[in-house]
Subunit: 312 residues, 2 copies
Amino acid sequence: MSMELVEKVLAGDRLALARLVSRIENNGAEARAALAALYPYTGRAHRVGVTGAPGTGKSTLVNEMAKVWRRQGQTVGIVAVDPTSPFSGGALLGDRIRMRDLAGDPGVFIRSMATRGSLGGLARATGDAVKVLDAAGFDIVLIETVGAGQSEVDIARTAHTVLVVEAPGFGDDVQAIKAGILEIADILVVNKADQPGAEHTARTLRAMLDLGQARRSWHPPILKTVATEGQGVAAVVEAVTQHRAYLETSGELARQERERVTAELHHLLREALVARWLRQIPDGQVDAAIERILAREVDPHTAVEELIASVS
Amino acid sequence: MSMELVEKVLAGDRLALARLVSRIENNGAEARAALAALYPYTGRAHRVGVTGAPGTGKSTLVNEMAKVWRRQGQTVGIVAVDPTSPFSGGALLGDRIRMRDLAGDPGVFIRSMATRGSLGGLARATGDAVKVLDAAGFDIVLIETVGAGQSEVDIARTAHTVLVVEAPGFGDDVQAIKAGILEIADILVVNKADQPGAEHTARTLRAMLDLGQARRSWHPPILKTVATEGQGVAAVVEAVTQHRAYLETSGELARQERERVTAELHHLLREALVARWLRQIPDGQVDAAIERILAREVDPHTAVEELIASVS
């Protein structure tokens, strides 16, 4: 049943694709088998992360970028992620409505992902959804996240090229500094560039970049857009293409990929080792250690050393 | 040598305290022994997390809160954490200068912590520094962080009482929504309440709270302050005292503590198990698995299953 779904996804069936992504969100064992089967087909899409604070217009920008790529004959998968509280569920709905003009196009696939419980779970599900879109043959996979948190940085790191979107009028603060997200930006976009303060925002970004990133061999361009009118969007797409070329010729693409795989392997190892160890230890022994720590009879480090020694 | 330091810290030696916190930042094995020795003396301080975006005036608020507690005869330790990029190092320096009027008071200890490499490392070092201040006998330990990221949420969670500081004039966005930080707020402070828009900010916060938090038995108060003039600060300190009483009478304090210890134990177990496993596996076997994943001969999940099976 799941393998049938995999075949349909590989054959370009959009309904099967939507269904598989839903299963991945629910994290079934079945979904894992499907991911394993799809894995050999991954690694071809260019993954583009787009992040920025709410209100910077990044959804509109993503929308317009997708249109430019479509005109160039490229297929586009979009994963829109909102790791913020359930309060902001409305924003995603708004994004979907805004993206309606792309929805009839079979060369575009749009999927929203929301937090269900843990942020870690969302990062995993997003990473897996991106792999599925990659295997399904999309040339470009756009990962759109609300900016600023560590989890968003993690999600953005699954991308080859990271765009950070700013907009004027957020007071004196440039949003990006808040979580050091500027350091992972490959391309900076000042959207709403027709509004007052756009030039100031661009200059501030330039100054911050000059301050911190002299060591990088790729110098992030700062581009101005008015996404609602499509203005400047082709230049952003062109910058992504240039960054892709830079990644390939510099060997950075292969290095990134190796780093990503290494991090994923270590993460999965960690989870698997803890699960295995917990199956081996007698019931109640971990709880007993917690009680002793609470009673301050032992400190956490010593308790862990004792627990591990008791099993092996 | 380290035990001598521990004894001095327990005896109230401030210089020894500063030295021990530095060692903790550098994560030496020596520091771990000191932490184990101090652990029995922890659990007495009330830990108060204060978080908010840059520019909300939270450092000034922390400063003024410390003064109120000092007038009540309480000793105060302050850990100021900045998990944002190295760019913002200047802000911390500014905070220190602003806190100068507290510096001559032996009942106050102020320490800034900055990211050195990983955010995870910062969260650990901060948690350890808080334990040391607790063991050193401070009645109140204030943990001040720049708001919005997941790592800051983690740091704030080491606190018993979490204050989220907002200020008017950040555009229409209320900063807290960005990382769902509102859900962990026990007390909300609208600082700079003499500026236009303060009432609007307070109303927005109230509406958001009413929307999401009906299930909580503690209803977070929303308090207005002008920290630069000390206005409203005594009421914030009083709210912290009330929250502390609520935690004690409701049994929430014990539940929180258990949850915190459980999370810490699991985290340390994870790290220790991976370290032990990596010592057991033959050199090169993990690297070989990474190569096979990169070549798409195997998916990451299957590779991990094979690696684990090969050792046990």
